[in-house]
């Protein structure tokens, strides 16, 4: 289980306990975190679960696949160096305390 803090574009925070092996997106949508749509259900096919990962956690994540890399070029809000698709971030104990910020728009 890892605690993940979601900070919405408007500043509202929600802390969610996410089991290891789940994706950050799965933990977010199940708990109704606003600002993550995840239309495709985690297939890396829609780019509507875009998030900005706090810098200190970036190097603890597996690097993006080619598909994620390409889908990140098509996000509704601007892509930044710390942009990731939350459906592609698998939760491990090393990610306990992870903080992600959510973009203004997903679609």
């Amino acid at each position: 289980m890892a605690k993940v803090t979601f900070i919405e574009h408007g500043g509202a925070e929600q802390v969610v306990d996410i089991p290891e092996g789940w994706t950050v997106m799965q933990g977010a949508v199940r708990n109704g975190v606003e600002g993550i749509e995840a239309e495709c259900g985690g297939s890396c096919a829609c780019a509507t679960c875009h998030c900005y990962v706090e810098e200190e956690f970036l190097d603890r994540l597996a690097p993006p696949s080619q598909t994620e890399e390409e889908m990140l070029d098509s996000t509704a809000s601007e892509r930044r160096p710390n942009s990731r698709l939350s459906c592609q971030i698998k939760v491990t104990s090393a990610l306990d305390g992870l903080v992600v910020r959510l973009p203004e728009a997903q679609s």
Partner: protein
């Protein structure tokens, strides 16, 4: 059961707790509606993502809990009353109420049908044998996942998306797999020939036996259990597990019984409105009027967009769904993404390398771009949505020329 009260309490009732029904409920809240919202599902689960059932779940990459779209607690926080495991018996539009099979009656101020669809049954003898399964629900996927553990030989009936995704998952489990397709190519209803050919080659390369023009005449078995599938040429295809993926039937019976117009789906306009101003419909159960015809879409995008339109319509607003349809499929390490409708195309242009498993097929009709199918080329797909939604002029020559940056057309 919380928000659901006596008849005529003025609340919004949504029949069906899948992707479309959930979207109606949440969009009602997003649009500022503060009254009671009741979401009724006949499955025993909170709303879940259906696409991973034939992908991650069968491949062992996700368990059931991970498929949840919204958990019961999250719905409760939004004031959405979720009723699970109870079917609706009837709708009385004159009395503005919905009767559940457990005897409860819910009055409504606005009603949404999001009743989805069910797997089309295989119309041949033996289809009821043990070991013959269809994939539509979470419970179906659970049964197929369990059967894949033990089955040596798998026969998939139907070379559409569900069938091919199941075939890919079964190969991942190391099973011997035969796909029987009645048409002369795979994906005949949904994709154009170049894409069909690509997937035939892909599956053959992964060891799947493909039988095209294969008319299934019977499923055979012993002791009530399946042993194989017989085709019209007399051959027997031995199987321990048969998965049937021959299309879906929209669940329109409730709507028909209460007198709503139905024609291969509950007929709706672009704003998801039915023939009754108090009633909307969204998702797989609908057939949308487009010009003189009806458009049936079976996709997440359709469920989500019509769900948003339906919620707006219940509140007296017009929010038409006009975007180009998009869809995707994952098989092995190939991601197919489709946008637009390629039916009736008169010219194609290929961008990228088919042999390199990284290409897009652009479809033109009368000189206009009408659809793009992308294989492992997500940027073409995402750009294609913009090209089609904005009706940007693209020539086949530009599409086929990788040196030409299509993105410059939408700036």
């Amino acid at each position: 059961m919380g928000a659901a009260g006596a008849p005529d309490d003025g609340g919004m009732v949504i029949i069906g707790a899948g992707q479309a029904g959930l979207q109606v409920a949440e969009s009602l809240r997003a649009e500022g509606y503060g009254g009671p919202v009741t979401l009724i599902g006949d499955e025993p689960h909170a709303p879940y993502h259906r696409p991973p059932l034939s992908k991650a779940m069968l491949c062992g990459d996700a368990d059931e809990a991970q498929l949840t779209i919204r958990g019961p607690e999250a719905l409760e926080r939004k004031g959405i009353a979720l009723v699970t495991g109870v079917a609706v018996a009837s709708v009385d539009r004159a009395a503005r109420c919905v009767r559940l099979v457990d005897g409860r009656t819910l009055g409504y101020r606005g009603l949404a049908f999001a009743t989805g669809s069910r797997a089309r049954p295989l119309p041949v003898p033996g289809a009821e044998l043990e070991g013959v399964l269809a994939l539509r629900s979470l419970d179906d996927a659970r049964r197929i996942a369990a059967a894949l553990e033990a089955a040596g030989r798998v026969v998939v009936i139907g070379g559409g998306f569900i069938g091919l995704e199941v075939a890919a998952a079964a190969r991942k489990h190391g099973r011997a797999v035969t796909v029987l397709e009645a048409a002369d190519r795979l994906l005949a209803r949904v994709a154009a020939p170049p894409v069909s050919e690509f997937f035939a080659t892909l599956h053959a390369a992964h060891g799947v036996t493909l039988e095209l023009d294969a008319a299934v005449t019977a499923v055979e078995g012993a002791g009530g259990r399946v042993s194989g599938v017989r085709t019209a040429d007399g051959r027997m295809h031995p199987a321990d597990l048969v998965v049937v993926g021959v299309g879906i039937i929209p669940n329109t019976e409730l709507a028909q019984a209460c007198g709503l117009e139905c024609d291969r789906g509950i007929v709706v306009d672009a704003c998801a409105r039915t023939s009754d101003p108090l009633v909307v419909a969204a998702g797989d159960c609908t057939a949308r009027r487009v010009g003189d015809g009806l458009l049936r879409l079976e996709s997440v995008q359709n469920a989500v967009e019509q769900g948003k339109s339906a919620a707006a319509a219940l509140l007296g607003k017009e929010r038409p769904f006009t975007a180009a349809p998009w869809f995707w499929s994952d098989q092995y390490d190939v991601k197919l993404q489709m946008v637009g409708l390629s039916a009736g195309h008169d010219r194609v242009a290929v961008r990228g390398s088919v042999a390199g498993q990284r290409f897009s097929v652009f479809y033109f009709r009368g000189g206009d771009l009408v659809a793009i199918d992308s294989v492992n080329r997500a940027p073409d797909h995402m750009l294609g949505r913009k090209l089609l939604d904005k009706a940007v002029a693209v020539t086949p020559e530009q599409a086929a020329d990788e040196g030409f940056a299509l993105a410059t057309l939408v700036r």
